[in-house]
Symmetry: C2
Subunit: 285 residues, 2 copies
Amino acid sequence: METRISSIHREVVIGAEKPTVLIGERINPTGRKKLAASLANGDLSIVRQEAAAQVEAGADIVDVNVGAPGIDEVEMLPRAVEMVMGAVEVPLSLDSDNPKALAAALKVYRGKPLINSVNGQEQSLKEVLPMVKDYGAAVVALTMDDDGIPKDSERRVAIAHKIVDRASAIGIPLEDIIIDSLVLTVATDTHAGLITLDTVRRMREELGVNQTMGASNISFGLPEREIVNNVFIAMAIFSGVTCPYVNAARVLPSVLAADLILGRDRFAQRYVRGYRQRLAAKAGT
Amino acid sequence: METRISSIHREVVIGAEKPTVLIGERINPTGRKKLAASLANGDLSIVRQEAAAQVEAGADIVDVNVGAPGIDEVEMLPRAVEMVMGAVEVPLSLDSDNPKALAAALKVYRGKPLINSVNGQEQSLKEVLPMVKDYGAAVVALTMDDDGIPKDSERRVAIAHKIVDRASAIGIPLEDIIIDSLVLTVATDTHAGLITLDTVRRMREELGVNQTMGASNISFGLPEREIVNNVFIAMAIFSGVTCPYVNAARVLPSVLAADLILGRDRFAQRYVRGYRQRLAAKAGT
């Protein structure tokens, strides 16, 4: 199954037979004080820099999230989207909890965007799915609902089926739903990683859809988080994740290695090119 | 299923619910000129150093291989085994293509060793399995036979079944067979990684046995091999490998992360201890 996301410059195709697509997660003020402060002042210069840096580091799609206390997302998200469209050529992921902000961003976006996100809550289904349909967008579907994030894979899978059914009922094709099985830290729950990986495997078997995740949550509260993140993303790609949200600069080498091992990189061409680019980047600094 | 290997000092238990057991692969003169030269001169000082260094780096079992041109393994392997038994407390893997060398090493070994290896060739089955039985040892079973290493997982699985059946016929219990699904480089065969991982998954489902592999072969001929090795070992452990042959110093952090993610490290105790040990080691140098 292939999901297509586009800007006016290019189309990105997400699919299990293709190299993993990386969605750059860094334009998000949560936990980033400097970015939050500049956004609160209406200053989008960091957003522009961060967009360019992520594409340089290997992001195929850039996520744009401006949600933080004191920021009017309905006004700011479309402005940020305009800024990022001017800064980079890749397609964008429009990211907000606020459906009005998503609607405002959709109005200015040129191409087929990824909407981040819908979930199994009734209100979310009612407000977000019609926008997905109206704009012919793709959407990230979070496997949580009014009761929060289920502690087991059965209920996460059930929520995914519910979202897919509701989307299908209004004419959104299955390939435009990207499931997020949700990642919680293993620091406090020994089984958190297994539950997510099991959900991913079952989603691949039952629906065959493209899948994303915010992989770095797995290591929250642990030292040397990158080690855990890189191992987890390898297992997640192996299980069925095709387009994770990541800090591209930190995970690209492992993702290229995962694609190579999984037979998606003939003659190791992408892996070796990535290596040469890292060498050149080092020589340049 | 649990496989037990022991020295006179300690027992190592290998099993899918337990932390991954690392078998140190560094006492092997293949491709290591200095070690080969010292062994040819009858000098075992590097063997002693390498044994201690690997245990320090996290190896739970140490493999001892002295096979190289100009070395009489029948004389040298038992000497090396004696030396390593005196240097470290962990159990050993007795490693040779030469059944007479294995027999000589078994005579001096104290504890329950791992014999490395038997394979599906008729001669190997006839010569090695009786020794495994006589000494109550465990054995690594390579999924290759007189026709070499099969290009598909079906035939590798079939060879494993054949070895298990032949072992069972002379009274060797299933838990004393550790399957090696064999790793070839992805540099020249795009599907090499997938074939091995598929074999591992099937072995877990069909036999439920413990499994090993020489993981680093995956990256032969590639740059920055450690990136590929660490990603591959994560996928291999996830698929069913419980006791890989590795350079412990290079893979321990990723293996600890894999065990953590797979629910084998309650409250991240081992992962955090490994982190502290790395910090202490850095501070010491």
